[in-house]
């Protein structure tokens, strides 16, 4: 309990410092997510349409996922230096695989008979994509976005290693100075943020899932 009280005191002591860290963390997350969607959703669509190259690309990307987040950040450092931009690029790259893989799987998962039926009723290829295939793939796509977001929220903490003051700063500071209250401020806020993302996107996922038989 003392620990909790100390943690609250630490936040109260300089609310502006805490607010800025939350803001940076959220900003970094949202920007990375935005770029990842912009890049990897269309890429996933392309990949899903290629019978041969598609599966190969997807497995390559899946294999890339074993590279730890921290390693990506450190790999970026000599290339791009310190600051918001390299952190953003690293996080965007990190969010890519779950999005790409789920977009591909979701679109491929729509039965051929359903798509043929869409054509049979007189839909053009683009009508069949936007009115049938994409909506039916949405649950899988949103699930991919959800895991990507949670991953970004968690990994944004590591941005403090490239000198971006996210909530991760409190964790690093807490660990290096042995101050558990500060560590708790960081860890708890990151967890809450991740939970929030999980909750929101989980809701979105249910929203786009049609009732099952």
């Amino acid at each position: 309990m003392d620990l909790l009280r100390d943690a609250v005191a630490y936040v109260r002591d300089d609310p502006e410092r805490f607010r800025r860290a939350v803001e940076t963390h959220a900003q970094l997350t949202l920007y990375a997510l935005g770029w990842a969607l912009l890049i990897f959703v269309p890429l996933g669509v392309l990949v899903s349409r290629s019978a041969r190259a598609g599966p190969a690309i997807v497995s390559a990307v899946a294999a890339l996922r074993v590279v730890p987040s921290l390693a990506i950040l450190f790999l970026m450092e000599p290339l791009l230096g310190l600051g918001f931009r390299p952190a953003l690029i690293a996080l965007t790259a990190l969010a890519g695989p779950p999005i790409l893989i789920n977009v591909d799987a979701g679109l491929r998962g729509v039965p051929g008979a359903v798509l043929e039926n869409a054509r049979g009723l007189g839909m053009t290829p683009s009508q069949s994509f936007f009115r049938v295939q994409l909506p039916l793939a949405l649950p899988a796509i949103v699930a991919g976005i959800r895991s990507a977001t949670v991953e970004i929220v968690a990994s944004a903490s590591l941005a403090s290693f490239v000198a971006v003051r996210t909530l991760g700063n409190f964790v690093v500071q807490g660990v290096t100075t042995g101050n558990e209250a500060v560590l708790l401020v960081g860890a708890a806020s990151i967890t809450l943020l991740a939970l929030l993302a999980e909750l929101l996107l989980g809701g979105a996922e249910r929203l786009v899932t049609p009732p099952q038989a």
Partner: protein, 360 residues
């Protein structure tokens, strides 16, 4: 077909209007999927007159689906020509062509993410009908297929039974009042009772609107019950094309004979509806709505076997055949039934018994 549409049904708002049917002609149509095997469809030439209900039947892989899908260009023929009302199907962009043709397939036909109303509205929306007209049409169609709109409009397909889903599939195909319906085993996955009921509904709709229907099935009972004409296919070829009575009583070869169970008299009698063998009433007589003659009646969709039973039981020399609205449309007696049941014993002899019956 126009004569089938009663004046009482033709009120102004769409549902009562006879859409009429298109003439569909296949000339030397072939489809080769490559890969060295025989063609899925080999030089089929087939004429379907406007408003006919044509049933394609034959063993799995004989090319029924392929022929159907070439009609709305889901498949492109390797050779030959398909015309609808004289217009070659290739002269239109494929989506425009398909919007004029109703298409119903087995199961999976409905879009699971769209509510029932939206599923039915697919083609009208593609055709850019205005909102009010679409909404009106959706309700009209739900009524037509026996699903109360208020209750079903907002449901999702998964919230309907298989039979109800198939009704919606039919409603969706009818949405833009197509003059042609292509149906690929639409009732194949349903239980026998539901299937019979839906067959009745489809017949009712066909009588009312007179579309040309090409219907694929595996089930000879279904074929005989529904068809004006049966097309028997095997190995990509048409082996027989004729009215149900002819196919059942005069199978073209041993293959067709086996398909229809021709060596079994009772089987044949239970297959054929009374309407296919009756002596039609004199048209003038029927049109003036002559009073129902006294004596036993039988509906035209009942099996000949039942008619035979009723006839023997009643000790009358004939039965009056009535349509679904109990209007007399013909008579049937022992002689007409014998003409049908005796035929198979003599086998394929090349004379159309249908013609016999009509002459009698």
């Amino acid at each position: 077909m126009a004569t089938r549409t009663g004046a009482a049904e033709s009120h102004a708002n769409g549902a009562g209007r006879a859409a009429g049917g298109s003439a569909i002609d296949y000339v030397g149509v072939s489809k080769d999927f490559g890969g060295g095997g025989r063609s899925a469809v080999s030089e089929i030439t087939l004429s379907v007159a406007p408003g006919r209900f044509v049933v394609l039947i034959g063993p799995s892989g004989c090319g029924k689906t392929t022929l159907l899908k070439m009609t709305n260009r889901l498949y492109e023929p390797t050779a030959g020509r398909i015309t609808i009302d004289g217009t070659e199907v290739h002269s239109l962009p494929a989506p425009a062509l398909r919007r004029q043709i109703g298409y119903v397939i087995q199961q999976t036909g409905l879009f699971p993410h769209m509510r029932i109303g939206d599923n039915i509205a697919v083609v009208p929306r593609l055709l850019r009908w205005d909102k009010a007209r679409v909404a009106h049409r959706v309700d009209e169609l739900l009524d037509l297929v026996g699903l109360p709109p208020a209750e079903y409009r907002h449901r999702f397909p998964a919230q309907l039974s298989g039979g109800q889903q198939q009704r919606v599939g039919l409603a969706r195909a009818l949405a833009a009042e197509p003059s042609t319906l292509l149906m690929d085993e639409p009732f194949g996955a349903l239980d026998a009772i539901t299937r019979t009921r839906l067959q009745g509904e489809l017949q009712r709709i066909h009588r009312r609107f007179g579309q040309t229907i090409i219907f694929v099935t595996h089930d000879i009972d279904e074929a005989v019950r529904l068809a004006d004409e049966i097309v028997v296919m095997r190995d990509g070829l048409v082996v027989q094309h004729g009215p149900p009575l002819e196919v059942v009583t005069t199978p073209a070869d041993a293959f067709v004979a086996e398909l229809v169970g021709a060596d079994d008299v009772l089987r044949r009698l239970s297959l054929l509806p009374v309407g296919s063998a009756m002596r039609p009433l004199d048209r003038a007589n029927g049109a003036t709505g002559a009073a129902l003659p006294a004596g036993p009646t039988v509906t035209r969709s009942a099996a000949l076997r039942d008619a035979l039973g009723t006839l023997l039981e009643s000790h009358e020399d004939h039965l009056t055949v009535v349509d679904e609205d109990a209007r007399p449309i013909g008579t049937i007696d022992l002689e007409t039934i014998q003409a049908v049941s005796g035929r198979a014993a003599t086998g394929a002899e090349g004379v159309s018994p249908h013609a016999d019956v009509l002459r009698a």
